[in-house]
């Protein structure tokens, strides 16, 4: 690969490779694959939890700053242990059984939500060689996997035997199904531009010019639509009406407590992260450092910063944007919400997709216009 021209002292590929060779020299190929699979599973689960805890802390801090407060500041320096304490609290809480609820569905629902979140989490490329599996239809797999979550939400609302839960779940269903559409179209626009659904190729294709700029006007519109529908899909920001506290107590997870509630909570936070990381990978060049063709000295310096730092930096930026939006805008009404999707985002998106097709066919993307400067190969 081209990347090997630059020295990358802090990358994790060396460690991963040595673990692989160690396992393969000491075991039969079948067992080695199995053990590697287990290691990857554990690593992803651990990363999932760590990111969730960190996100909860960061979110609470930034939220507080937006409201001129200080946020958690009692537990540990600057309150960093607060979310760990919260986790322990949620783990030792009783799981309350609801009378006349559908027991099986009630306890199955959180697993749908969290498993879909895990599946989507698995395909994210965190850095060079830091991807569990690199499907050739990665974007499509992400869209499919993240859609399973809504089944869990609907089941939770239905099986709780509670009006508020039911209303929240129905709202969530309407919202999710609607916005999934525009998220899918926005991704499709970029797939048209880059000509691939594989995350590794998407990242490689954005070496010198991020997709956000490559398709200029069309890409930017797609990015904005993707971020809006991301907020809506993760029930956050101004679109948090499925769990609108003041109207529906907590929406679909009203009746859940302890760990079952923890699953919903965790999945909600991680979905935000997953969404931002997909946006990073598809629009902002993923883990690829900023590269300018011709300026080899700069490029080399950029490669010294490891790829996962680039990835988390860009994702963090998008998460901050999401929080900024969340604490700026009032909650939408359900009809306004659906208006926004069906009367604005969807038509604009369809036109935008056509525009992108024209851009690609006439070769007027930035890389097409300035092939000497920005073309990847």
């Amino acid at each position: 690969m081209l990347l090997l021209n630059y020295s990358q002292p802090l990358e994790l590929s060396g460690i991963i490779e040595s673990v692989d060779t160690f396992l393969r020299t000491n075991m039969s190929p079948g067992w080695a694959t199995f053990v590697e699979g287990v290691i990857v599973c554990v690593a992803i689960l651990a990363l999932y939890c760590i990111i969730a805890l960190a996100l909860i802390y960061i979110e609470r801090k930034i939220t507080a700053f937006f409201q001129a407060r200080l946020g958690p500041n009692r537990l540990g320096p600057y309150g960093v242990i607060q979310s760990i304490a919260d986790m322990v609290k949620i783990l030792i809480k009783e799981i309350i059984h609801i009378n006349r609820s559908d027991k099986f569905l009630f306890y199955a629902a959180p697993f749908f939500v969290i498993v879909s979140s895990f599946l989507a989490f698995g395909v994210i490329p965190f850095g060079i060689d830091l991807q569990a599996i690199d499907f050739n239809i990665g974007v499509f797999f992400y869209t499919a996997a993240s859609s399973i979550g809504i089944i869990g939400v609907l089941l939770a609302g239905w099986s709780s035997n509670n009006k508020y839960s039911m209303l929240g779940a129905m709202r969530s269903g309407a919202q999710f199904v609607s916005y999934e559409l525009s998220a899918g179209f926005a991704l499709m626009t970029i797939v048209v531009l880059s000509g691939t659904m594989q995350f590794s190729e998407l990242v490689e294709g954005q070496r010198y010019c991020w997709n956000l700029f490559n398709g200029h006007i069309s890409s930017i519109i797609a990015f904005i639509i993707f971020m809006i529908s991301g907020h809506a899909e993760t029930n956050r920001g101004p679109f948090d009406l499925p769990e609108a506290e003041s109207e529906l107590t907590a929406g679909y997870h009203t009746e859940y407590s302890g760990l079952t509630f923890g699953f919903f909570y965790l999945a909600e936070y991680l979905n935000m992260f997953i969404y931002c990381s997909i946006a990073t990978t598809v629009f902002l060049g993923g883990w690829m450092p900023i590269q300018i063709p011709g300026l080899d000295a700069l490029n080399e310096v950029m490669w010294y910063i490891p790829s996962y730092v680039w990835f988390f930096g860009k994702t963090g930026l998008l998460i901050f944007l999401s929080l900024w939006v969340r604490w700026s805008f009032p909650r939408l009404r359900i009809d306004h919400l659906l208006n926004l999707e069906w009367k604005y985002l969807l038509p604009i998106n369809l036109v935008n997709l056509l525009v992108m097709v024209v851009i690609v066919l006439t070769d007027t993307s930035l890389a097409g216009l300035f092939p000497s400067l920005l073309a990847t190969n």
Partner: protein, 223 residues
């Protein structure tokens, strides 16, 4: 809805959304208003008008201004104050009523300020010391006059000053039992919530000889 309206609506919406985000961005960098209470004790500013604990100011000679008239006790709506006077004999043979104990119950006080307003000699005030939480209910009962304190005389010759010193020496011995009695009485009052008013009125009749009318007059002049 015409097409141009549709398009202009989108841009209007974008403009207003960006305006909102600019506001919150400014808010992000403003000074945080959170008061970190136990740490900021030294810089904490409590309003002067804040009423937290009733005190009887004593000067450097351990003298206060309370004449044991009992008006504060009479005006207290819920029997929080118990003033116990005692009679002493001055050197020139006159009988004089002085303050023995002034007991105030932090637990039942509603901080209405009536006692402070009506006090004819401005002997008691509410201070700013708001950290009044204690672990034991009996610690809420405060004796306001200090041990061995006496009434501030109004520019008297040293003869008058001498007499209270003798009384103060024996007041350390006798009032100790006296004070305990009153504290136990106050506790009784607290436990018998229904009879608080009745108990108090009897107390007032026993201990206070000031006529009610003067009390009212003083009220008006003070206010």
């Amino acid at each position: 809805m015409s097409f141009s309206k549709y398009i202009s609506g989108i841009f209007k919406a974008l403009k207003s959304l960006i305006g909102g985000m600019r506001e919150t961005w400014k808010e992000l960098w403003t000074k945080k208003v959170t008061m970190q209470y136990p740490e900021n004790r030294k810089t904490l500013v409590i309003s002067d008008r804040w009423r937290s604990e009733l005190i009887m100011p004593h000067d450097e000679n351990n003298e206060h201004a309370c004449t044991a008239c009992g008006i504060c006790m009479m005006n207290c709506p819920n029997g929080t104050i118990t003033v116990t006077p005692k009679m002493i004999e001055t050197e020139d043979g006159k009988k004089k009523k002085i303050l023995d104990t002034h007991i105030w119950n932090y637990g039942t006080c509603t901080f209405c300020n009536l006692c402070v307003i009506t006090c004819p000699s401005n002997a008691i005030i509410f201070n700013n010391d708001f950290e009044g939480a204690v672990f034991n209910k009996s610690k809420l009962i405060h004796q306001l006059n200090h041990e061995g304190s006496k009434l501030r005389e109004k520019k008297k010759e040293p003869v008058a000053v001498k007499t209270p010193t003798t009384t103060s020496s024996d007041s350390t011995a006798t009032p100790a039992t006296n004070k305990d009695e009153i504290i136990s009485k106050v506790k009784e009052n607290n436990s018998l919530t229904a009879s608080v008013g009745g108990n108090d009125s009897t107390n007032v009749e026993k201990t206070v000889e000031q006529p009610k009318q003067t009390n009212n007059n003083k009220d008006k002049t003070n206010e």
